[in-house]
């Protein structure tokens, strides 16, 4: 029982982070239907940006804000300078996907080249152990869960109650109609890439205060991002949140029966089973 509770707690912590990763990729995919493989690079980029600012002796919080800002710009730039011109030329989904993958690989190599393969810890965040009965976690964990949910709630409030949020939902629900009523979908796309990149930057920050960054952290984050979206259901951002929680808890509890090396396999197995039974994902609607 004690072990179960401990693992469940871990699962919720991981799941919160996965939910954040899920919405960060999901808002981009749901709106633009671009398989933004380079999201993984933005994640790594955000992490290293924050690190670079701290190395320049900028305090942690300003470093975080500056890092998030550059990551957001980088995300918008990928859309504006790579995907947008391709879409304009009616490039196929596949060629856009391959470009995205190219950016991901090139970006990752560049970071490797500049910063080397070493792990780079992000220091300065107070880490203490908190024990509640048999369950222990750290201040970093607590902060992670809190920040993830605050950010997710803010995102949903933004989408639900602001003009820009409404336009994003409009473009994702009927892009053609959006054009006809006068919404400039190109601007909405750039906006959405900015938001998604900001969110993934926050996720990168949270994981870097927990585990040191390496040039290849982005791939794992990317996999989780889109698996949660397809698990939860495309077109429904709430699905990504649910998918993230389920994956986080599942991957944590699985340790009770399997060695941790099987983590990624279990995640793909869950996705496979769900998609087999309900191809549109847990909360997704059947496409007519």
């Amino acid at each position: 029982m004690g072990l179960f509770l401990q693992l469940l707690t871990r699962g919720i912590i991981t799941g919160s982070l996965y939910a954040l990763l899920g919405v960060s990729w999901g808002i981009i995919y749901n709106t633009t239907r671009t398989f933004h493989f380079a999201h993984g690079f933005i994640y790594t980029f955000a992490s290293y940006s924050i690190l670079v600012f701290t190395w320049m002796s900028v305090p942690l919080i300003p470093s975080l804000l500056l890092g998030l800002f550059t990551a957001t710009l980088a995300g918008c730039a990928v859309e504006y300078f790579a995907y947008l011109p391709m879409r304009k030329k009616s490039a196929s989904q596949l060629s856009i996907f391959l470009t995205a993958m190219g950016i991901m690989i090139a970006g990752q190599s560049l970071i490797h080249l500049v910063f080397g393969p070493d792990s780079r810890p992000l220091e300065g965040f107070p880490e203490h152990v908190i024990s509640l009965g048999t369950v222990t976690f750290t201040t970093v964990d607590l902060f992670t869960v809190l920040l993830c949910w605050i950010v997710i709630v803010c995102l949903f409030a933004f989408l639900g109650h602001t003009k820009a949020g409404m336009m994003i939902r409009a473009v994702s629900s009927n892009p053609e109609k959006a054009t006809f009523i006068g919404i400039d979908s190109r601007r909405i796309f750039v906006l959405v890439f900015g938001i998604g990149s900001l969110l993934v930057g926050i996720a990168a920050f949270l994981s870097t205060i927990d585990k040191p960054a390496t040039p290849n952290i982005g791939l794992g984050a990317l996999l989780i991002s889109f698996i949660t979206v397809f698990l939860g259901g495309v077109g429904r951002l709430g699905g990504a949140v649910l998918g993230g929680i389920i994956l986080g808890i599942a991957e944590s509890l699985v340790i009770m029966v399997l060695p941790t090396e099987y983590k990624m396999m279990v995640i793909f197995l869950i996705l496979f089973l769900v998609v087999l039974i309900k191809p549109e994902g847990l909360l997704g609607k059947k496409i007519a």
């Binding site: 939902r169 109609k177 006809f180 009523i181 006068g182 400039d184």
Partner: protein, 232 residues
């Protein structure tokens, strides 16, 4: 002249479907364009509003060449196109759909007052304000689509088969609403399969067959015709 289309050719991936189409709509005029399935009516409307690009020919709106303008720009000029199908945002509420139409234009509307006006014309939308658009009935969805268009006070309304899928009763209601919109000074270019409805409403009628406009006549002359079958 509000809208003038001259010798318009349009095609998809090299396959031409509209051949040298010419038509005009004067300010405040009610014009209908009828023709069989696949004649090219939708293609023509989509070209006028800027969604499709022309091969050759002229599209002038208020005297300005608008061939290279996007629908988003044209909407802001008062040229509003209402789609044949999928003409709303299914996952958004009725009210949000209407609000968006105004927000997208970005003009400082008196939104409250415009909403009131739309609700006066389509009272059912007021009752369904909070409901998701995709849960509306077919007829209500058409009303919402037209409602979104008139919310922004267009000068020229391009309507693509608004009567599609409506029962005879609703078609009549819709006809009355279009008449009212027209009487308020909005010019309408109505594309219809429902020939009777189109002819009874419009002041001038164009007939389109396999990509060409083969006839233009007045309401009076069209009403006098024994049969319309020879046109199709």
């Amino acid at each position: 002249m509000l809208l003038e289309v001259r010798n318009l050719d349009v095609g998809y991936q090299g396959k031409q479907v509209v051949f040298g189409a010419s038509l005009r709509v004067d300010a405040g005029e009610f014009v209908a364009l009828i023709g069989h399935n696949g004649a090219g009516k939708t293609t023509l409307l989509k070209t006028i509003c800027g969604y499709l690009k022309t091969g050759s020919g002229d599209v002038r709106y208020r005297g300005e060449d608008i061939r290279n303008l996007s629908p988003a720009v044209n909407v802001k000029k008062g040229l509003v196109f209402v789609h044949q199908e999928k003409s709303l945002f299914p996952n958004l509420s009725v009210l949000e759909n209407l609000q968006l139409a105004a927000y997208a234009i970005g003009k400082a509307y008196n939104l409250e007052q415009r909403l009131k006006e739309v609700y006066r014309i389509f009272p059912i939308l007021k009752d369904r304000e909070k409901q998701m658009a995709n849960t509306l009935s077919g007829g209500q969805q058409k009303q919402l689509a037209v409602g979104m268009a008139i919310l922004v006070e267009p000068q020229l309304l391009l309507l693509d088969e608004p009567s599609l899928g409506l029962s005879p009763n609703l078609v009549k209601d819709l006809g009355n609403v279009l008449k009212e919109i027209s009487n308020m000074g909005t010019a309408i270019l109505l594309v219809e399969q429902n020939v009777k409805m189109a002819i009874s409403l419009a002041q001038r009628i164009y007939v389109m067959r396999t990509g060409q406009i083969i006839l233009e006549d007045t309401h009076e002359n069209m009403m006098k015709r024994e049969s319309l079958w020879d046109l199709f």
